[in-house]
Symmetry: C2
Subunit: 464 residues, 2 copies
């Protein structure tokens, strides 16, 4: 039997079935609106999961128009994933029952390691089942998977409260389910797409390293964003992350920089910093770009949907508002980007082609009399001077610029191999224009600082 | 005559008439939609300026339903402010003509110092007229005034593109007109009010120091936000700013940290830093809190509409999402705030009053099963432990929290003298809730980082 188990374990080392399931069982399914399992069933139907869904609960004959099974063994067909939304103890019992019937399970239930000693024991038992049976477990204490490719959604928060992003090229790996749900919700409202979002919770089995191994070969994923509280196996992480960064950009936010529980003990600060330093060193070794916080992670998601890297650090700034242009220049320089001057020949070309009121330098200030054409002229001529990134601060107060700038800029962007980042702070009109830009695949940021953070992220990525 | 001029000059040293005018003349008024003077006339009417508006242009008998005068001297009544929207040379001629007729003028026209030697001469002439006549000049090359108290709006950008904020307690002083317009627009769309917004442009006469002198005694202004590119008279600035900060908070963004034009000459970095260091020292001496950028200035405007300072740096974090709570704790600590542990007695009280699934520490994690009441219990009991600021990270995924939390939190906030900052990142539902919170006077921030920036700003302000 141990031979058989070993074989099974080997075949399931790969977790890709979580991201391409043909059949999903929901254990503890319920028709009661608002219950976790009910929300999950709704979500799976709404996202349009194309495979089979099997509700399992001895209390019901059917749920939400689907036949309900009394036990998983009554289901004749193969099942890839079981979703378990039961209290901790029944969840553990269920895992024992189904370990040989399914390839993997997502345990969304809380009540394990995070609750203390008893919970730790339960979680240890889960790991033992994994070792013996070869089943792969995501969770417990997680939101599971939101996947725009395979159309799986196990996030048990109603869409009315937490929006679901459209399909895009970013995959997000997060220990924290609430963090994953929150950024998903915000990305959805801003029209930023994702590929796969994975909330792996306590990580009893599947962890960030397993996810990185899968995503490195995932053609639907252009870049990976990590939200990490802690890593159990540092060596495994560095190896998996290194393999992934050789193929695509990986960025990470590390939270919990101080030791939990010793915050009042200020004398421990040195030790805390030391622990955080280990993470920083690991990121560096693996080629992972560390990002400072939620805002930065959102910026990364936005920029990586369009660009993956920049060739260097030379930034050209084009603006119609002097003050914002200067602020962008400051932020670039204090972030290590180079706002180099433009050459005499480029300056001459620009001066001859732009109206006389424009200030030709870096930034190029087109002033409030700017037209759509001026923006394109400044970009085309400026980029000839060997810049690695262009930040275009388009303020919408000037009356002569129009929605037509979107298509002109899109065309110009396609003629160049240089990332073009739009920075448009402002109110209603501006936000409407920004949505139009975003819809055409031009990344728009709503503050000088966020545009510069995005530029910095691109320059940190080794060209892959 | 010099005696007479000196007297006149003395009486007009104060610039408060700009912010309480009874009569405004628009020189070069035009009925042509889109022309600067036309937009300004529209803006004055739309905001409901309660005084008299006198269009002046020999070409027209009436404009927009108002009698149009051939020259300013045909107007019999006293005029406080003339708005001049003419090209540079005619603008200068006009100033000469009206210098003894009006208390002050706003020259929105460009074409002065910012355009080179010729423009510098024209601007020097303006200063000479000011010296001789006692007229006060705002501009040139400025947007002028947006004032929700006296209902003046000379910003020549149409409301359809640049929104106007409601009345609030923040006054903004900005050299850059586009910066002022952009942040006004964004504040308007987010429901953040302002008192007076002043774009003084080239500052030929009225400068940031004059504005600070006025705002320090302005009862409609609770706090002042400065956007500075350069200061002409450092001593005057430090004195004016010092007087202002003794009465109310002043925050500043300094842009243009490098010498303009020498960006390519990297060897000059030392000198550039030196110049910026002088500004930093001046801010410090004057008690001005320096803020790093557009995002920070927006955060300051939001928080100062509700709170003016915090007693200390001890921050209590309450959340329903562990990951976001930990990120806030990290951001607090890396910004110099203290996320101190809670006392044993407070911990006991909290544990007895909160459900058992809550993690009682700092952060207090109420988890996804949180109710409205749990938030209030955590806040009330937590604040008894002597915290200076509470940051409440309310994520709206948890199904049991409701809109009713707004009123409950408002009531609780009124019982305490401690700033309560809400942090709610998220999408559509969250943004709707945040608007309701903001409408009740609770400051809501859309990222962990912005909430922490606001907390830091409050702790930098000496209690006034």
């Amino acid at each position: 039997m141990s031979q058989k188990l070993m074989v099974k374990k080997k075949t399931t080392k790969d977790i890709s079935f979580f991201f391409n399931p043909k059949a999903i069982a929901i254990i503890g399914a319920s028709p009661t609106p608002g219950k976790l399992s009910s929300v999950i069933l709704e979500s799976l139907k709404r996202i349009g999961f194309p495979g089979d869904i099997y509700p399992v609960n001895p209390k019901y004959a059917s749920i939400n128009g689907l036949k309900c099974y009394r036990a998983i063994h009554e289901i004749k067909n193969d099942i890839d994933i079981a979703i378990i939304a039961l209290p901790a103890l029944p969840a553990l019992e269920t895992i024992k029952e189904i370990a040989h019937k399914v390839k993997g399970a997502i345990i969304v239930s809380a009540g394990f390691k995070e609750t203390g000693e008893n919970g730790k024991k339960l979680e240890w038992e889960i790991r033992e089942i994994v070792k013996k049976s070869g089943i792969r477990i995501m969770g417990p204490n997680c939101m599971g998977i939101y996947d725009t490719v395979s159309k799986v959604d196990t996030f048990f928060v109603p869409k009315e409260r937490v929006g679901r992003p459209m399909r895009g090229g970013i995959s997000i790996i997060s220990q924290s389910g609430s963090f994953a749900a929150t950024i998903m919700d915000e990305l959805a409202s801003e029209g930023i797409g994702v590929s796969r979002v994975i909330s792996y919770g306590n990580g009893a089995d599947v962890d960030e390293s397993d996810c990185l191994e899968f995503l490195k070969d995932d053609e639907a994923t252009n870049a990976v964003a990590l939200f990490i509280e802690s890593v159990n196996d540092g060596r495994k992480f560095v190896e998996a992350a290194s393999r992934c960064t050789r193929k695509k950009p990986v960025v990470a936010v590390k939270v919990g920089r101080r030791d939990a529980g010793v915050s009042a003990a200020k004398s421990h600060t040195g030790a805390m910093t030391g622990r955080y330093e280990i993470y920083r060193a690991a990121f560096k070794k693996a080629g992972v770009t560390e990002i400072d916080g939620y805002e930065g992670l959102k910026d990364a998601c936005r920029i990586f949907n369009i660009y993956s890297s920049a060739k260097g650090k030379k930034v050209l700034i084009i603006t119609d508002g002097g003050g914002i242009g200067v602020r962008i220049a400051d932020a670039c320089e204090s972030s290590g980007l180079d706002v180099v001057g433009i050459s005499k020949s480029a300056r001459n070309r620009l001066s001859s082609k732009l109206p006389s009121f424009c200030a030709v330098g870096n930034p190029i200030d087109l002033t409030g009399s700017v037209t759509d054409e001026d923006y394109i002229t400044a970009l085309e001529e400026g980029l000839k001077d060997g810049f690695d990134i262009a930040i275009m601060a388009i303020l919408w107060g000037p009356p002569h610029i129009t929605e037509g700038l979107v298509d002109k800029l899109k065309e110009a962007a396609q003629r160049h191999n240089t990332p073009i980042i739009v920075c448009s702070p402002g109110g209603e009109f501006t936000k409407r224009m920004s949505r139009i830009f975003a819809g055409k695949g031009i990344p728009v940021f709503s503050s000088p600082e966020s545009a510069v953070r995005a530029a910095v992220i691109l320059t940190c990525i080794k060209t892959v």
